[in-house]
């Protein structure tokens, strides 16, 4: 199989380049991550992040044939050759396929991704009905891989100010949590020209999410909640 992989070592290279590789997949090599390991056997200098190899940690998020995805769950069989593998778009490249996600996580921290409840903790849990718990489905299961955020054109044009779909999905997760009491403050924090409202419902995020989540819908829920609270 033919591959074209983005290479860049800041201490050695003047500029990034695409390096071609040809590998022979062995039986059991099903996903892009397997192919990357074959490539690394040929060229040990290739660097990429990976951990769980089953699509739950989000470490190996990268751009494969123009679409973001988790290398460990993108099957080789559906890919047109040469398979072009690049890092996540629009983030600074640390080396090869490894990007700097500092800004992503700073934006995540900025929405206060923790339960805010000033009542004293009960003896056991803060109770929730099954219906209340169901409102968190599709929101809590984000693995923060950044595939959606780095695929959003609006995020490309304003990465420092627009929070991006992943962070907004997490904001929605806390807004929808019945145990959280800081709803007003959370909504007020999002009500400015940039943080949420750069979203144009382009819906690249929902299209690309490797876990099948719907950030566009979550953003829409936040907008509806804002309207309900203010009108």
């Amino acid at each position: 199989m033919q591959f074209s992989v983005y290479r860049y070592h800041p201490e050695v290279d003047d500029r990034p380049y695409l390096q071609d590789y040809e590998i022979v997949p062995r039986p059991g090599d099903v996903m892009v991550l397997d192919a990357l390991f074959r490539i690394k056997e040929q060229d040990p200098t290739l660097s990429f992040r990976r951990s769980c190899r089953e699509g739950v940690c989000g470490s190996d998020a990268m751009n494969i044939n123009g679409r973001n995805g988790l290398a460990c769950i993108v099957p080789l069989s559906v890919l047109k050759e040469p398979v072009v593998i690049r890092p996540l778009p629009h983030y600074p490249v640390i080396r090869d396929l490894i990007v700097d996600l500092t800004q992503f996580f700073e934006q995540y921290r900025s929405i206060k991704p923790y339960l805010i409840n000033n009542h004293p903790a009960p003896d056991r849990e803060r109770l929730q009905s099954p219906e209340e718990r169901a409102r968190l489905d599709g929101l809590y299961d984000c693995i923060l891989c950044a595939c959606c955020t780095t695929f959003c054109p609006s995020y490309w044009w304003n990465p420092e100010k627009f929070l991006g779909p992943a962070v907004l999905l997490q904001a929605c997760r806390f807004l929808e949590d019945s145990r959280d009491e800081a709803t007003e403050e959370r909504l007020a924090a999002l009500d400015d020209v940039y943080k949420l409202f750069r979203c144009r419902a382009i819906m690249n995020c929902t299209d690309i999410c490797p876990k099948g989540l719907d950030p566009a819908q979550a953003i829409s829920v936040i907008r509806q909640t804002m309207v309900k609270k203010s009108v």
Binding site: W157, L190, D191, D192, V193, L196, F197, R198, R223, S230
Partner: protein, 111 residues
């Protein structure tokens, strides 16, 4: 800058004005097809009749607001230099306000 038209208000304004703009456009098209004015004077009298004058005035106010939010969004997305941004937003605001003044003149002052 937390002006009067930021965030939620701008988004809501854009959508509410869109509904009114769509509705009035359909009404206008229907009138032109059904009751095609025979001459300029017939058209003029229709436009200046109280109901049409008010709803058309509202149409253009909605249009100015809708245009402001829409074009401002485009400028905020693509123009990053502060000088360019302030200049373009000023030109946009002036253009829209000038249109507003002209609208008042046409419908109210010198019909």
């Amino acid at each position: 800058m937390k002006g009067p038209l930021t965030g939620l208000r701008a988004w809501l304004t854009q959508r509410v004005t869109a509904v009114y703009l769509a509705g009035f456009t359909l009404f206008l098209l229907a009138h032109l097809l059904w009751d095609t004015p025979a001459s300029f004077d017939v058209w003029r009298n229709w436009v200046l009749s109280p109901g049409v004058r008010v709803t058309m005035g509202l149409f253009f106010i909605a249009l100015l607001l809708h245009a402001w939010v829409g074009v401002r969004d485009v400028i905020l997305d693509y123009v990053n230099s502060l000088t360019m941004r302030v200049s373009l937003l000023t030109i946009l605001a002036s253009g829209l306000l000038a249109s507003g003044v002209w609208l008042v003149e046409i419908l109210l002052v010198h019909p």
